[in-house]
Symmetry: D2
Subunit: 345 residues, 4 copies
C-alpha cells in the first residue's frame, strides 16, 4: 500500500482527495493536516466520513508529515504551497501540488498575476499535470503542478484543434460556467447560499488568474503565442464546470470530421469522452466522476466551431486529476481508484 | 379601468400576466381562457392567487372574449396565435401577441424556422414590441409582436454598439443562459426537477429559433445584414436570462466611453439600467422586476468588448414587456404597474 | 409622507424593509445605518436597488437618526436592540424592533435563553407585534416587538384551536422548515451554498430560542402554560417557512368544522388565507408576499389534527409584518404597501 | 460473475441499479428492459453511461429475460410487478421486486391501499427486504419485496425503541421529507423544475400508501398493532429522505442511553451509522451512499424522544438496498459493491 498524506486537508479539495483515496485500492492515507481543525477528527468536520476513518487533523510540519508518506498532496492556497513543497522534495517525496504555484513556467507571468515567487528554481522541475498532454513527463516527475479547474476544461476542449491548426488562433473565446465549490470553503458573503441561489453572474471578466495558465498550454499546442477571451461565471450548483468554446475555422470542415479528430487525439485517454457530433454534455453526466465530456458542432452560417466540455471541478478539475497524476507517478494504472460513475440525478 | 383579457392563460406567461395585471392600477382582467382548465378557478391551478381573484378559466372563442375586453394578450404557442389574432383585430381590439407568429417581418424566414404562416398579410401591420427601439410605433399599433426572451436580452445588449458602428459585425457571439421557466409548463422529461437540478447544458446549439429574430433586429440597427453565433444554455434556476456577448471593437475605445454610449442611448428608457464599467449584473438583481441590467468591459488584450445583460425572462422577457407595450398602446405611462423591485434573496 | 429610518440595515431584513418601503405609498426612507458599510450606497451592496435610491449607509448614532424619522425599525441582532431602543423612545419616536429583545414578557425567561437584559423596565411597555392577535394594542403602542419568524407561522397555525380548547395542550409538536435567509448574511461555513445545497437537516433540536416565544403566546391563547416540541430544519431554498403542526384532538370534530373555526377566527385578517380542508400550502405560494397560508386535515386513525402553515420568513416572518405593525401604529390601513402577490415560479 | 437483469430499467431506480451494478465486482448486467426505449442504448437515455456500457433497452418478455440472468430486479410500477414476477419464479430465478406489490403481508390491506392483487398466494412466500431486520430470511428467499423509501428511514429510526418497549406506541409521528427523485421520471406538472424549485410542501397528508407498510413492520417490532401519523413532504433537491420522528418516552431515560440502545441493536449492520447523542444527520452526508444515518435526543421538557434518520432514497431507499438483498440472497458479503462514500458537496 502506498502511503499518502494530504497537506492542507480542510477544504473541499482536501476532503475530496480523502473521499477518493479511502476507496483507492492501493493507497493508505496516513496524515491529514489542518491548522484550524487540529485535533479534530475529519469525520466531525465532514460527517460523510463517520464510521469510515478515524483520521484526525494534525497541525504538523512538512518534516513530520514527510516521515509518514511517500506521496504528498498539497491542497493549500497559492503562495503557501511554494513555501511547503521544498521540504517534501528534499526528503525525496513525490509531490502533487493543487495550487497555482508551480503551474506557470514563466516566473514573471506568475508574479504578474499572483505574487512574488519564493522558489523560482523549483518551477523548472515541475511538470504540468494534465495527463492527456503530458503522460510520460508526469510518470517521471517528482513535482507535479495539478492544473486549474477552468484550464482543464478549456485546454481539453481545444487541444486537438490547435494541434492540427484547424482554427484561427486569434478567435478563441472561452465562456465558462462553474459550480460554487470552486470558490472553496472559506466563509464569505459572495458564496453564501442566499447570494448564489437562483442567481447567475459573470465575475472577474477578462481578469481571472486562470487566463495565463490556459494561454501557456494553448500556446504550446499551437506552437506560438495565443491570447484568449475567458469569462468565468458562477452557477447555482455545487459541482461542475461547463465551458462553451468558440473559434473560427480555418477551412471547410464538418462536425463529423472534427469529432473524428478529437476521437483520434484522445484515443488512449480513459477519462475523455467524445460525444457524437451535434450532441453536448451536461454537467450532471460527469458530476462525481473523473470524466471530461466533450461535444462539438460547426455553425456553417458563421464558420465557427462550438465546443462544449464538461468536468466535475473537484474531480477532473482538482482531486481526481491529482490522483490520476499520482497513479502515473507511482507506476499504477492511470485509472486505479477512479472508476466512479457520475451520480445522477 | 381598461378591460383586458388573457387568451391562453394556463402557462407561466399567462400566470405572470395575471399576477402583474392584478396589481396594475388601470386594468381589470375580465377573461382568462384555457381549454385544459376550463371551469377551474385560476386560484386552484396557481394557489398564489387564493383570495386575490375569483377568475375562472373559460374555454371561450375569440369572439366571446372580444366582447369582454379592449386589449387582448395572446399567451399561446406559436402557430395558434396567428389563427386567433385576426378575430380580435377585426373586432377592433388591441392585440399583444407573446408568441413568435408576428415577430419576423420576412414570412419566408418565419416559414423556414417555424411553419406555414396562415395570415402573412397581417404580419406587415405588426410592430416588434421592444419599446426601447420602437416606442412610437408601438404607441400607434393595434398588433404588437412581443419579443422573444433571448432576443430581448441580446438586442438591448448590442443596440448602442451597432447603431454607433463600434464593432465588427461578423464577430458577434451571444452566449446566453436561461432559467427553466422559459421552457413552459408542459410536462416533459427535460424540464423535470431531477433532470435540471445540479445540471447545466447547452441546447439547440446553432439552431435556436430566436436566432433569426435577433438577426432581424440587429441588422436593422446596423443598417445591413448581420449573422450571430447564438448558444442558449439551461440554468438550474426558475427565472432569468443572462447573456454574455462578445464582439471585436473597430477602434480603440475605453469601457468608460462605451458605458457612456449606452447611457445616452437608453437615457429615456426607464427599464434599462447601465452599470458602472467593469461591473456586471446578476440575474438575482432583476428577478421579479421589469429591468434589463447591462454591464460591460473592454478586454484590451484581445480588443473585444464583453457585454453582460440580465433580465427576468418572464417579465422583461415576456409578460412585463407585454404590459409595457400595453401601456404605450393605451396612452398610459410606460411604467404604470411595473414598478416592482427585484426579489432578493 | 411618513419619515422612517432603518437602524441596522445591512442584513437581509434591513434590505427587505427598504425594498418594501420604497414602494410603500405613504413612507419616505430617510436613513439607513450600518457600521460595516458606512459611506457606501445601498445600491452597491444590494444591486437590485441600482437606479431606485441614492441612499447611503451611515454610521449614525440613535440620536442623529431620531432627528430624521418618526418611525424607526431596528434590524439589529438581539442584545444590541435593547441598547439602542431607549434613545429613540425618549425622543418620542415609534419603534419597531425586529430582534428578540422585547418579545418575552418575562425577563427571567429572556435571560435564560438569551442574555442579561439591560432595560427590563421597557419590556413591559412593549407590545408583541402579531396583528392577528394584538391589533388594537399595536395601534396604541410606541414600542412593538416584531415576532420571530418561526413563532409567526406556529402561532397563527395554532391560535384558533387553542382559543377554542379543541386540542390536548400537551400534545403539540411543531416541525418547522426554514429557508436559509433566516440565518442572516453574516458569512459562516454552515450557510455557504455548498453546505446547504442538496442537503437538509434538523438543527438546535429541542433548543431553539424561538421555543419560549411560541410557548408564551400559545399559553396566553390557551389560558394556561403550554410546552411544545419544536424542531427547526434548514431547507435548501432562500425564503420561506413551512410548519407542520401536530396535536391530538379533544373531541370528534371534522376537518371541515376546524377549517370553519379558522375562517371565523381570521375573518378580519387580510394576510391569513385559510385553504379548503385537505389542501395545504406550498412555500412557493407565499414567497414574496405578506401572506400566511394555512391548511389542515384530521387524521381519524390517530385522532390528530395536522396543520400546515406557510410564510415568507423575510416578509410575514420579519419585514412585512414590521410594516404591517407600522401601518397600525400610524393609523394607516393595515395592508398599505403590502399588496404583493407571491412570485412564482 | 452473477448474471443479473433489470426488468423495467428506464426510470431512476432502474438507472441507479445499473449505475451500481456496473461497479459491482461480482455481477454482470445481461439485460435491461423498457417498452418505451426499446432499441435505444441506455447511454443515450442516461449519458452518464457513455463509454461505460453498450447495453441497449429491449422490449423483452419475462421468459426471454429469464434465460439471460440468475437474478432479476423488477423496477416496475406497482400493479405490473405482480404480473411479471411469477414467470421469473417459475423459472427458478431469484427476484427482487422494488415495487409495493409484495410488501404487505395482508392482501386485504394491499387491496385497500393499492388495487386488486392478482397473485395473492405468492405474497406469503415473499420476504420483506430490510436486511437490518430480516437478514437470515432474505438469505433464504427467492422473492424479496424491497422496502419503500419512506418506510426504510422510519422503521430503522424506530426499531430499537419499539423492540425495547421504550416508547408509547400511540404517540408516534413520522414527519418525513423527500427529494424529488422519489416521484420517478414520468413527466408531470408537479415534478417540473419550476414547480418544485424554491418551494416546499406537504402532500398526501394522512393518506400516503407507505403508511400501512410502516405500520406493518412497526407492529411486528412492538408485538402488537401500531398506528402512526405519517406526513411526507417534497424537498427541492433530487436525492434523500430525512425523517424526523417523535414519540413519547415510557420512562426516564437519557439520550446517551438511547444512543447505546441503537448502537447495540445495529452492531452488525454495516449500513446503519448512529450519531453521538444530540447530533443529527444531514441528507448530504448520505447522498450517493447506502448508509442510513441516525441521531437522536431527548426533550426533557416534553418527555419526548426525537429521532432523525437520513437515507439516499434511490440507494438505501431503493436500488442500493436491492443490491444489499441480492448480496445476501446469493451468498455474497452484504456490502459487496456498496462501499460508496457520500458525494459532498
Amino acid at each position: 500500500m502506498l502511503k499518502v498524506a494530504i497537506y492542507g486537508a480542510s477544504g473541499y479539495t482536501g476532503q475530496e482527495l480523502l473521499r477518493l483515496l479511502l476507496r483507492h485500492p492501493e493507497t493508505e492515507v496516513t496524515a491529514l493536516t489542518s491548522r484550524r481543525y487540529s485535533g479534530i477528527p475529519v469525520a466531525e468536520v465532514y460527517p460523510l466520513f463517520v464510521g469510515l476513518t478515524d483520521l484526525v487533523y494534525a497541525d504538523a510540519s512538512p518534516k513530520d508529515v514527510a516521515g509518514l508518506a511517500e506521496v504528498v498532496f498539497l491542497a493549500l492556497p497559492h503562495g503557501i504551497s511554494m513555501k511547503v513543497a521544498p521540504a517534501f522534495l528534499t526528503e525525496g517525496k513525490k509531490v502533487i501540488d493543487l495550487s497555482a504555484d508551480f503551474r506557470l513556467r514563466d516566473v514573471g507571468t506568475y508574479e504578474k498575476w499572483y505574487e512574488k515567487h519564493v522558489v523560482p528554481d523549483i518551477v523548472k522541475s515541475s511538470v504540468y499535470g494534465l495527463p492527456e498532454l503530458y503522460r510520460d513527463s508526469i510518470a517521471a516527475a517528482t513535482l507535479v503542478a495539478n492544473p486549474g479547474c477552468y484550464p482543464t476544461g478549456a485546454i481539453l476542449g481545444l487541444a486537438p484543434l490547435l494541434k492540427a491548426h484547424l482554427i484561427d488562433d486569434t478567435s478563441i473565446i472561452v465562456d465558462a460556467k462553474s459550480g460554487v465549490s470552486g470558490a472553496g470553503r472559506e466563509p464569505q458573503v459572495g458564496t453564501l447560499f442566499c447570494e448564489v441561489d437562483e442567481g447567475f453572474k459573470a465575475y472577474k471578466v477578462g481578469q481571472h488568474r486562470h487566463t495565463p495558465e490556459m494561454e501557456q498550454e494553448l500556446s504550446v499546442l499551437a506552437g506560438h503565442e495565443i491570447r484568449v477571451s475567458f469569462t468565468p461565471h458562477l452557477l447555482p450548483l455545487s459541482r461542475g464546470i461547463l465551458s462553451t468554446i468558440y473559434a473560427t475555422l480555418q477551412s471547410d470542415v464538418t462536425a463529423a470530421e472534427l469529432t473524428d479528430t478529437f476521437r483520434v487525439f484522445y484515443k488512449n485517454c480513459p477519462f475523455v469522452r467524445i460525444y457524437r457530433e451535434g450532441t453536448f454534455p451536461n454537467i450532471s453526466s460527469v458530476r462525481g466522476s473523473n470524466y471530461c465530456d466533450i461535444g462539438l458542432t460547426v455553425d456553417r452560417r458563421t464558420k465557427r466551431v462550438i465546443i462544449v466540455s464538461a468536468i466535475d471541478n473537484l474531480i477532473k478539475g482538482a482531486s481526481g486529476q491529482a490522483i490520476q497524476n499520482m497513479n502515473l507517478m507511482c507506476g499504477l494504472d492511470e485509472n486505479t481508484g477512479l472508476d466512479m460513475v457520475a451520480l445522477f440525478p
